[in-house]
Every structure is written in C-alpha cells, then in structure tokens.
C-alpha cells in the first residue's frame, strides 16, 4: 500500500506525547537522516502503526493499541523533538 505521512498520526502522537509532534524534528538512528515527523513514512495497515525513515526504510517508531493502552517503541530514533 501507499505510505501515509506523519500528519496522519497527529492525533495518536498528541495522545501519547501530550503536544503536537507533527512539526517536531527527528533523526534516524540507523542512517542519521533528519526529518520532520510530518514527513516520515507511516503505515497504518500493519499490525499497529509503523513509522519508517524515508531515506533507509528503517523502522523508527511503532505504536500498538492493546485495549485502552498504547505501547510505544521509539528504538529506531536517535532524536525526537526540538
């Protein structure tokens, strides 16, 4: 499927971080590419929501909802925010 972008998960990110994150900066932990969160590739049809780097395709963030809880994995990121 065609990837969406970080705008599509603005609500989810605001729910998790308590503030708008679409205009936040990110740096890929694998290749070092810098990007605004709004510009990252987002797949919502995966089990959960998967956010990937547009340069090297590494997984940057994963969000999985289990009942009312959102599990967050940010291991692919070197930097988020700022």
């Amino acid at each position: 499927m065609d990837a969406l972008d970080g705008n599509a998960i603005g609500g989810l990110l605001q729910e998790v971080f308590g503030t708008d994150m679409t205009s936040a900066a990110s740096v890929c932990g694998t290749c070092g590419a810098a990007s605004l969160v709004a510009e990252l590739a987002v797949y919502t049809n995966a089990p959960g929501t998967v956010v990937r780097c547009r340069s090297c395709d590494s997984v940057l963030m994963v969000f999985v909802k289990i009942h009312d809880r959102t599990c967050v994995d940010l291991m692919g990121l070197a930097v988020l925010g700022g």
Partner: protein, 247 residues
C-alpha cells in the same frame, strides 16, 4: 515548533451535525457544532471515531474545510470499500451526533504571517485543507498571492466548484482534468508533471511556500519536481491521503 506547539489534552467529544451539503455525487461537507471548540488553524484536521453496536471501533482523519472562526466543517469523499466514509456521506443526517477529537496538526498549517506567495497543489479531495487556507486568507484580508493547481478526474469531481470559480483578488485557480474533459474545455487535461508545474508554479526565486495535498503518488510526484526545480524542501509542505484520498 516552539511558537506553535500547544499543550492541550486531546479528548474525544461529541459534536452535533448542523448541515450536510452535497459537493459532488460522492462528496459531502458536514458542518458541526462542537462544544468548547478551542479554535483551529487553516490546514488542520480532526479524527472521527465510529463505534458499532458490537463495540468495533473505526477511526479516520479528515481535514477541516472551514476557515478559523467559521463553524467546524469536514468534507468527506465516499470510498466504495471504506469503513467510515460511506456512513458519513450516505447515512449521517442533520441533528445526528458524531464523535471527534481535534484540532490536530501543527505542520500543515498556514497563517497570514507565514507569507507567500503560496502555491497550493491539490489532488482530488486533497483540496479540502487548501480551501481552508483560501478562506482564511480572504477572511483575514491577507493579500498574499495564491495559485491553486487542482487536479481532478472530471469536471463533475471538482469539489467547491462554484466557490473556486469566483476566486478572490490575487488568487488564481488552475484546473486540470485527468480522465475526461467536457467539450470546449480550455484548461489542462493531463496529470501534474514537471512540464505542467513549469508553466503554472511560481519561479523558485520568488521563494514560494507550497502546500501539496492528495493521494500519496500525487504528492510525491509534485514535491519531487518542485525540489528538483529549486524550491527549498523546507518550504514544500506535504500531506498524503494514501492510495485513494481521505485516509
């Protein structure tokens, strides 16, 4: 992000439908009364949540079609295999309740102070947040020059057609119809590509601010062309709707 980030808890709330307007055969604008709406920026969206009787929940994002200060309105295109949009376009009536949260997004937004000139690029229902920008410009008395290039399949698929036929001073609306053109059509009749953008877009040295919204393939094609032709990437803002428009 410092100036625009607003710390506000995002909660689901129930809005009341105050009007449903047909834009095209498959597109409706739904106007909402949202209690305690904090106000929105042009370009933001809301999340809509439908809950079935058996508890199954489906969420989708829809761009806000109205300008800041106007009642909240969303414009929804019916997707034949959609879980949410057929209910919104075919079943929802004035007086019904609708669960939503928002406004959402601080990236794909425009304020008059951001300046221009603006290049707005719309593929199909990607025109919705750009319409909010156009109305915001008019309501605030901004004189920032705007060119809107709007790609639709046919003339009957053009959303907000009457409104776009009467643009404000300083606004140019350029249509391209990619699948079928009525007889006597003098506008463009092809997909937006490098050649078309070379004719329509502001020159790169005017330092335009671009907002491109539509299907993923459309947005990636136009943003690549613009950056290759010298537009600074940080002034080309993009929002992708996926394969079909209306995520």
């Amino acid at each position: 992000m410092a100036g625009t980030a607003v710390r506000r808890r995002l909660t689901w709330q129930v809005a009341k439908v105050t009007a449903v307007t047909a834009e095209t055969a498959s597109v409706r604008t739904i106007t909402l009364d949202v209690p305690d709406w904090p106000g929105h920026q042009a370009g933001q969206h809301v999340d809509i949540r439908l809950t079935a009787e058996d508890g199954y929940v489906a969420e989708r994002s829809y761009s806000i079609a109205s300008a800041p200060g106007e009642p909240v309105a969303i414009t929804v295109e019916r997707l034949e295999d959609g879980e949410v949009s057929p209910y919104l376009t075919d079943e929802l009536r004035t007086g019904d309740d609708l669960e939503l949260r928002g406004p959402i997004g601080g990236y794909f937004v425009w304020e008059p102070a951001d300046g221009g000139p603006l290049l707005l690029l719309a593929g199909g229902s990607g025109v919705v947040p750009l319409r909010s920008i156009l109305r915001h410009r008019e309501r605030t008395g901004s004189t920032v020059p705007i060119r809107l290039l709007y790609s639709s399949r046919t003339l009957d698929d053009v959303i907000y057609r009457r409104e776009l036929d009467q643009p404000a001073a300083g606004v140019e609306v350029i249509h391209t119809l990619t699948r079928h053109q009525p007889s006597g059509w003098t506008g463009y009749a092809r997909r937006v590509d490098a050649a078309l953008l070379a004719e329509v877009a502001w020159p790169a040295d005017a330092l335009p601010l671009t907002y491109a919204c539509g299907p993923t393939s459309f947005v990636e094609a136009v943003s690549q062309v613009l950056v290759q032709s010298g537009y600074p990437p940080q002034r080309v803002k993009t929002e992708r709707f996926g394969a079909t428009g209306g995520t």
